[in-house]
Amino acid sequence: MLEYDIVIVGGGGAGLYAALWAAENTILKVAVMTKVYPTRSHTGAAEGGINAVLTHSIGDSPEAHAYDTVKGSDFLADQDAVDIMCKMGAAVIYDIAHRGVPFSRRPDGRIAQRPFGGASFPRTCYAADKTGFYILQTLYEQCLKNNVTFLNEWFLLSIIHNGERVEGLTAWDIRNGGVHLIKTKAVILATGGHARIYWNRTSNALGNTGDGTAAALRAGLPLKDMEFIQFHPTGLAKTGILVTEGARGEGGYLRNRDGERFMKRYAPEKMELAPRDIVARAIQTEIDEGRGCGPRGDYICLDLTHLGEERINERLPQTREHAILYEGVDPVREPIPIAPTAHYSMGGIDTDKLGRTGIKGLYAAGECACVSVHGANRLGGNSLLDVLVYGRLTALEAVKYADEAPETNPSVAKQKDDERRILELMESEGKEKLPELRRELGETMMKHFGVFREESSMKKGLEKLMEIRERAKHVKVHDTGKRFNTDLISVLEFLNLVDLAPAVAVPAIERRESRGSHARRDYPNRDDKNFLKHSVVELKNGEYKLSWKPVKITKFPPEERKY
Amino acid sequence: MVKVGFYQGCCFQGQDAHMFETMKKTFKAIDVELVLLEETTCCGGNTIDEENRKLSYAINARNIALAEAKGLDMLISCNTCYMVIAKAKRAMDKNKKLREEINNLLKEEGLEYRGTNRIYHLLDFFRDVVGYDRIRKAVKRPLKGWKVAAYYGCHVLYPRETAVDNSDNPSSLQEILKALGAKVIDEYENKDACCGYHSFYTDKNMTLKKLDKILGSVREAGADIIATPCPLCFKSFDIYQTNMENPPGVPSSFLPELMAYAFGISKEESGLSHHLIKVEKD
């Protein structure tokens, strides 16, 4: 049995930053467990930037940032948490800059900031168009410097707790095979988002399957605001791969089949720079109403041609590369075909404003957590901030806790259980095929729980999801090897997806209003009287139980969200 | 008759001075007039870059400008010179500031880098300007029965930006050798290994290991001789091979020598008989 004081599950931005702060602030045994090598985590794909009010942001203030965040969240964010996050902005930015993140700079040598959707001030710090990549690489370097222990290519299976405290974990060692029991006093879950429930129509990596969130759900922890999935307006038409918001930030236009800059009908003032949900819905509406481009009218054009080659190369090199490689279009010459793509999970493991869950010693940070600082809709550039702020806060909380916590004594039952579960998967008769079922899951989610939603369709969708979840029990792992069994991992990931999808569907049906990313055709307006509250889903005896929880409102009373 | 500026580098000097005469004759046979770019200097051998990269760019911007002043494209026979000069050209073309700065220096000599000429290596020059057909027609003494291992060398294939052929699966050298009537051997184990020329004076061991691999696998593949379009790879094979503990004694040749010989120029004059490791084949 492996033994640590703190295990951080996840080696993305949240996990590494937590590891770094833990490593520098304690002599306790800390390990980072991650299913892919840390630098391969999805944080590395974040392009646009990270929001923060810096000391030289004259005219801007953490309050203004908080207000924009709350407004962007359609007033569903907890304002006390937002306040913490926005006030820590400058501190985390300077900290990572001091550690080597090559932020782009203004001529006077200070960190450059650019405008981003939904922000009243240009406060998005960026490093060319690879912000997340550089942050991830730098954090990794710093972890190596601090001799952080890594369990690379280990897959979290289950969380073990006694109803009060966390006791340990079980995990699969991908490289050698085998279920391991890990004893630990504290666990920080930083396993990222679950947008892969939309399988093919997502900007996320193949492995963003919400493993930690699903494990938490199965361990009896509540998930919060799961109905809120952010659709990024600009995914490449063929693959869902993202075209950064920076492309619009730098002045790109959105045009429909008539060449019209249609955003003027949806957000006359902010135009292309309106928040993501508004732009995504505008695009979906154009497509649904027959003004899409292409032979099937199923995409919209993102036009960068007027920016010129030099500017595109300087500011958006990756965008250009991806458009050429995955869409076959050079944005210097032609507009890029784009359509909305599932991008970010606002919902996740229910935590308080310091990242604590209801179980002592168990924390969640980053995209897998729902604090909530993003409410019904996350602002571009706020996620990386959330990732860092909560990575750091949970690390400090975990250190404090683990310092004093009693020894734990995780039972081997869970390990045996997981071993049996895996054996069963390999021995199943295999009535169902993983690729097909996975495709069905994605299509169901996109069709019934996509950009626009509606009661009857969603109900049908939920039925379908439950059916898929049932059928998923008959998926077989064909590969019976122990070593690097990617077939097994794919199935385990899929089983997590099918557990999470209904957790999105159930509150989506019950939230009979439109708020943030949750846009209902049958309830087009926000309904603060009945729904200014967080949804909470729990899995009890195999059933998804929904309840509600109040929103923390401090400074900013709800108002209409207009841009 | 095509006229092209010939960049000699360091490989047509000293004991190799006679080779330029041979080159001239050889090229005449395929209707090409070589005009020696006599004021050019050493390209820095990819070593001056260690001293200072800008110096390397300046030296080679000057070399290119000398050809431009004559209104000639530039033909380079050495892989390394080719790569170093082509890299400098790319830098000059892409970086306006650098170009201004270096042109300011060249002004004194009455030179200016304008980026107007093309830079060829032997391989793309033969393929694109001369054509394999014309080579075939010039052959008077086909290399019948010669089993020749084709060896490109690194700097014509890598990096991507300056490569003269498909770097993964090149064909020009085989085509040329075929045109000369040779039987080409291009599937031997270490055909893509580096010749080790450049590490001879930084880590000699590395060179000797490379030679051992390449020449060993050439031998295994049953070739009579290894042919390369690069005079440095050739030197590594011919001269450095003698530094090996147990030299396998594989003869080698610089591509133009084989061409000269196939075009009917005497073995003596072709250079083939001036190798340390004797070329026995006739």
């Binding site: 070593r483 | 006599e38 200097t41 260690e50 300046a58 690194c154 893509d192 880590d203 290991k209």
Partner: protein
């Protein structure tokens, strides 16, 4: 639909005694990664390979196609089919790394090797404020110095393709040098760390790189390890690590090119390895073959102006070595002894007098014919 055959390396050390190849027919569509995912979904779920971002940012999916290192998600199938002209495409795991299974290799070793080069920022407290609310000022131009190196995503393509790794166990790997160099040119990094990196780079094979440029070619992110290795060598020499052969070779180049516009291959063995014999032997061997040997290269026409440019740049730029004028004077003397005139006269006269000139006449024997 157009299809192609992938011959994929299979090996599960738990089950297979030896590796074998398995053929799969895949559509020629999208990238190589698409083809592998197609196999996994439709033909054989037991094939193991790594992939995550599918958009060339995570560095998971590097492998070899017919021996050439490729990033699967960056390599269009069409391009492969065109390059290999319908030949089957043999897919292998990366070189120089232990195979865990099929296309999955163990990358811990190169990461450990990289760690020995201190590839992280060691902040200089005089530049990086210790106060976390204080910003450190970095001018945009400063970022230029390491703008390529920071793109490295640890895909290990370069490690697989590297000629030095191939033949030198301790060699740290192209990417490792690039990632280390990135901090050598960061003003925030402390001098003592920079010094150490150089020391460790030297013991990690800095002078063993053969400059084949394969790392530049295979890097999917435009990192230029071979050039960073040159930069590091320059730094090493500048910091006084001049005892290695490579440093002496550099000195030869710097001095001789300045002096004559050319290097002198005859003198390299003795200036680098102190080996006089080599020159004598080679001279003798050539003379026996009837080839004339020049002691020194013919000084280039325009040499004096060339020298001006050379000096001007070296006087302004950061460089590895200062020109050694005493060496240059020695070379000048060699030249004037042979050509029986001082260097300026030679450069001018050789070229002004043209073909029929007296000096040329005198030199004919040395040059062996008309060299223009």
């Amino acid at each position: 639909m157009e299809t192609a055959t992938l011959k994929v390396f299979r090996f599960d050390p738990d089950k297979d005694k030896v590796p074998y190849y398995q053929d799969y027919e895949v559509p020629v569509e999208g990238t190589l990664l698409n083809a592998l995912l197609y196999i996994k979904d439709n033909l054989d779920p037991t094939l193991s390979f790594r992939a995550f971002c599918r958009s060339e940012v995570c560095g998971s999916c590097a492998m070899k196609v017919n021996g050439k290192t490729k990033l699967a998600c960056k390599t269009p199938m069409k391009e492969l089919v065109e390059t290999w002209k319908g030949k089957p495409l043999r897919i292998d795991p990366l070189d120089h790394l232990k195979v865990i299974r099929d296309l999955v290799v163990d990358i811990d070793k190169p990461i450990e090797k990289m760690k020995t080069l201190i590839p992280w920022l060691v902040p200089d407290p005089r530049v990086v404020p210790t106060d976390p609310m204080h910003e450190s000022i970095i001018y945009p131009e400063e970022l230029e110095a390491y703008k390529d190196q920071i793109h490295c995503m640890l895909c290990f393509s370069c490690y697989s393709a590297c000629e030095a790794v191939e033949d030198y166990e301790r060699y740290r790997g192209p990417f490792a040098f690039s990632r280390a160099y990135r901090f050598q040119v960061d003003r925030r990094d402390i001098e003592t760390a920079k010094e150490k990196r150089i020391r460790y780079a030297i013991s990690g094979g800095l002078w063993s790189c053969v400059q084949c440029q394969k790392c530049l070619y295979v890097c999917p992110k435009g990192v230029k390890p071979a050039e960073d290795i040159q930069n590091l060598r320059g730094q090493a020499v500048r910091k006084g690590f001049t005892d290695k052969p490579g440093a002496k070779k550099l000195k030869h180049y710097v001095d001789w090119i300045y002096a004559t516009g050319q290097i002198n291959r005859l003198y390299l063995p003795e200036e680098v390895y102190g080996n006089r014999e080599a020159r004598e032997k080679l001279t003798k061997a050539y003379e026996e073959m009837g080839v004339e040997v020049w002691e020194v290269p013919k000084p280039t026409k325009g040499l004096m102006k060339f020298r001006d440019i050379y000096l001007e740049i070296l006087s302004k730029e950061e460089k590895a070595l200062d020109l050694d004028f005493s060496h240059v004077r020695k070379i000048d003397k060699m030249v004037s002894d042979i050509f029986k005139a001082d260097i300026c006269t030679i450069v001018d006269r050789v070229h002004e007098e043209g073909k029929g000139g007296k000096l040329i006449e005198k030199l004919k024997g040395l040059f062996g014919g008309d060299n223009g």
